[in-house]
């Protein structure tokens, strides 16, 4: 490549980045198909975040509607989502909230929940991320709705807030109940 042409590299790099940012502006932040929807929740057995000698298994999550939220303290969107989860869990006592603490430091996770409120009835530790792989998650936060038969009915990628709850989750909950 001639020296002259090399000078266009920064501009070319910038324009491709601009294209990426343009794409970023126009994506739907909350859409997500999943191979697991309408399939049973994978079986698992994981330590309890608050009592590392205890174990939470998938068998314990049967009967009633469950919301499984995958989160971590290193994930900024999870910080954004957290107050909404706390609020929604108080508003929806019929749904059992389950937290999967994903590839995180359990100590930091406990501190986080102690300080900002704990929306989860069960919190389990997924330190090596294997449960995350079974669930097919791409990152945090992700949320799964599981019905009374243990079947995943909906998967949500990204932050849940009140608007998303009302517009997306409520209609699905209507169907499940």
């Amino acid at each position: 490549m001639s020296n002259r042409a090399k000078l266009f590299i920064p501009g070319f790099f910038f324009v491709s980045m601009l294209g990426l940012l343009l794409f970023g502006l126009f994506r739907d932040p909350n859409l997500l198909p999943s191979a697991l929807v309408n399939r049973p929740l994978p079986e698992f057995s994981r330590p309890d975040l608050f009592d590392e000698t205890a174990v939470i298994t998938s068998d314990m999550l049967k009967g009633g509607v469950f919301l499984v939220n995958v989160w971590a303290t290193w994930c900024p969107p999870c910080h954004v989502e957290h107050p909404y989860l706390v609020e929604i869990s108080e508003r929806e006592p019929d749904i059992t909230f389950v937290g999967v603490n994903y590839k995180d430091d359990p100590k930091l996770a406990r501190e986080f929940l102690d300080e900002r409120g704990n929306p989860f009835k069960h919190s389990l530790v997924d330190a090596d991320g294997h449960l995350g792989i079974d669930l097919g998650i791409a990152g945090a936060p992700e949320t799964f709705l599981v019905d009374a038969t243990g079947t995943i009915r909906y998967r949500h990628v990204g932050v849940i807030d009140n608007k998303i709850w009302d517009e997306v989750f409520e209609p699905i909950l209507e169907q499940i109940k």
Binding site: F8, L20, G24, L31, P33, A72, C75, P76, G139
Partner: protein, 665 residues
């Protein structure tokens, strides 16, 4: 009436800025003295009108004018008066007004302080800044006008400022940060002017250096304040999270640091010219990119502004024009400003190049990490979103900084053009042995632990510090009075050493606080106590207390040191009345060698509370080191030679663009 006046003043500023963008530039092209001469009065006019506009918005906040939508969303009659003032830049619209005000302030400062700059260069520089100003003023006035009114249904009370932002940190953090971001527009404008004229010589570098140093010093303070604010206001005990918003402020800083060093080479040796120009463009471009990322919501972050894709689109168009245009100009014109001086394998030029390469690689890696979630999604589709955590950044950034610290120690000893290896060895062997020995022995003696991270960081910090001390010793040897000789070393030299010393201080702070902090979360009933090292913390219970616009659960924690009464801490949990938001107010006692940090968690029913107690050694050094760095930058700006040589260069540049002693293409 007053908000309309503010709006009108901003529009007048826009008209003047449009004139500023066109007339002096055309004057420089047609060599029309009168048109070029308009640059200075226009810069003054824009500044005055934007200041007026800013004052009007501040007035609306002070007088609780909730008919102004922006005031209603971000203030409240109960808000203390200093937060009302700070709320002017507490959200998107008002912070944009601060942004343009600061941009015009820099332009006005250039017009005032560059009396000796050739008029055609000044005209071009101010025109470029005027063009940027036009873009951002239009963006503000047409998509995010802070003066918009809600006259028909004026709310009786405002929604209140986000409680996270009700803090001293917020009052000072954004202005410093913007001074830094926008300050790089001066170097950017000088770079564009150099590309347009093809005149890029030692004089150009000398004009650009103090402005770049000043902007860099502001940005350093701004980032440090942001990190300090996160540390004590967010109450997580951390001070840097590799969050996208932090990253976008850090990238211009890294490139700005590279630019400062590359400008030194361009001034002294007349090389790296097109590289320097590219860095100047990149530093400001990254500042603009930061503004885009924070304000468009393209990447989720803990402290981003409200999401609005339409605004994002307009900002993106602005980025395309300003950055795309300047990079295109660079591609066309860079060959004109090429330099051809020679330098050998071991020379100051090469070590500064190493510095530049490391800093640019670090920036690229942070940019990649910040945009990676977006890239990943673009390739694998929406179902595959990822969040990149601190492990990625730490793994890549820390080794790069270790290399940078090592190169820094040699670089300051190397000489221009050529340095013999024997000379470097003779100068640095003692420093090397001493820093390795002390760096390994000290941690062993003090903690008794073998921790390679701590040892490496300490060795490198000592390598820098002992190198500085050794240099000062040698520079003042053979002088009748060492003290007098120290003073005579010059402010640029002292600025450099101070900034490098600051970096060593930051390295110590980061390494000790990351490795030796004690963080305890305990459930405490009144009367319970726990100890960390020689400190004992006793929980005395919680009382309710009301502040101006909140009610708080305020805890009392008695601290004793070695059994003696030491201090009393009052961490709080506040509930803000207007929004109902709950905010943790940590109590932090800052010390030179340790911070004591207490925060109040949730009540546990039986009168006991979750209490977070941290002992953080050396954490203060992180911000103190940043402060030293900024002081170094300021010292360099104040160097006498910038004033002494300005007159000479101004004349030399108009007569002959070739600096003496340098081969020039």
């Amino acid at each position: 009436m007053i908000p309309e006046l503010g709006n009108f003043a901003a529009m007048l500023a826009l008209c003047l800025a449009a004139g500023q963008a066109v007339i002096p530039m055309a004057g420089a092209y047609y060599r029309n003295q009168l048109w070029m001469g308009l640059a200075r009065p226009l810069a003054a006019g824009i500044w005055v009108f934007l200041l007026l506009s800013f004052a009007c918005l501040a007035y609306a906040f002070m007088h609780d004018d909730f008919s102004v939508a922006y005031v209603a969303r971000n203030s409240n009659s109960l808000l203390p008066v200093y937060y009302k003032f700070a709320a002017v830049w507490g959200a998107h619209e008002g912070s944009l007004l601060l942004w343009v005000l600061i941009l015009s302030t820099w332009a006005y400062a250039v017009s005032l302080l560059s009396r000796d700059l050739p008029l055609d260069i000044l005209a071009r520089v101010l025109s470029v800044m005027g063009l940027v100003l036009v873009g951002f003023l239009m963006f503000m006035l047409f998509t995010s006008n802070p003066f918009e009114r809600m006259l028909l249904n004026t709310p009786a009370e405002g929604t209140d400022l986000n409680p996270l932002l009700q803090d001293f940190g917020l009052i000072v953090h954004p202005p410093f940060l913007y001074m830094g971001y926008v300050g790089f527009s001066v170097a950017f404008a000088f770079a564009i002017a150099a590309l347009l004229t093809g005149r890029l010589d030692a004089a150009w570098a000398r004009w650009t250096r103090p402005w770049t140093n000043a902007a860099w010093a502001f940005l350093t303070v701004g980032i440090a304040l942001g990190s300090w604010w996160a540390y004590y206001e967010l109450g997580w005990g951390g001070w840097w999270f590799w969050d996208p918003v932090e990253n976008v402020s850090f990238m211009p800083w890294l490139i700005g640091t590279a630019l400062i060093h590359s400008l030194a080479v361009t001034e002294k040796r007349g090389v790296f010219k097109s590289w320097t120009v590219l860095l100047a463009i990149a530093a400001f471009s990254l500042s603009l990119l930061g503004a885009f990322i924070v304000r468009s919501g393209v990447i989720t972050s803990v402290h981003a502004f409200a999401v609005d894709p339409e605004r994002g689109l307009v900002l993106l168009a602005l980025l395309l024009v300003i950055i795309g245009g300047s990079l295109f100009l660079y591609a066309l014109r860079a060959p004109v400003v090429k330099g051809t001086a020679s330098y050998a394998g071991y020379s100051r030029e090469i070590f500064l190049l190493v510095n530049n390469v490391i800093l640019v690689v670090a920036t690229a890696m942070i940019l990649l990490g910040t945009l990676f979630p977006l890239i990943h999604e673009a390739i694998y589709g929406e179902a595959n979103r990822v969040s990149i955590g601190p492990p990625y950044f730490n793994t890549l950034f820390l080794p790069l900084m270790a290399m940078l610290a090592f190169a820094l120690g040699i670089g300051t000893y190397s000489r221009w053009k050529r340095t013999s290896v024997q000379y470097l060895w003779q100068q640095l062997s003692k420093v090397l042995f001493a820093s390795v020995a002390l760096g390994i022995v000290l941690p062993l003696l003090i903690t008794g632990e073998v921790n390679f991270g701590v040892m490496l960081a300490l060795v490198l910090a000592l390598w820098i510090v002992l190198g500085i001390a050794n240099d000062l010793w040698h520079k003042t040897a053979n002088k009748p009075s060492r003290v007098k000789a120290l003073v005579e070393l010059g402010r640029s030299y002292w600025g450099m050493q101070l900034a490098h010393f600051g970096m060593a201080v930051i390295m110590c702070g980061i390494c000790f606080t990351s490795n030796h902090s004690v963080e305890e979360d305990v459930r405490m009933a009144p009367g319970d106590s726990m100890s960390i090292g020689s400190y004992e913390f006793t929980f005395d219970g919680v009382v309710e207390r009301s502040g101006p616009n909140y009610v708080a659960d305020s805890a009392t924690i008695q601290v004793t040191k070695n059994g003696e009464k030491y201090l009393t801490m009052h961490p709080e949990k506040r509930r803000y009345l207007a929004t109902g938001a709950v905010q943790t107010e940590a109590d932090i006692r800052v010390g030179l060698f340790r911070d004591l940090f207490t925060a109040l968690g949730d009540p546990r029913g039986d009168g006991s509370w979750v209490v977070r107690i941290h002992y953080k050694p050396f954490v203060f050094w992180i911000w103190f080191g940043a402060f030293l760095m900024a002081c170094g930058g300021v010292l360099a700006v104040l160097d006498k030679r910038y004033r002494k040589l300005r007159v000479r260069d101004g004349k030399a540049a108009t007569a002959a663009p070739i600096p003496a002693g340098t081969a020039e293409a």
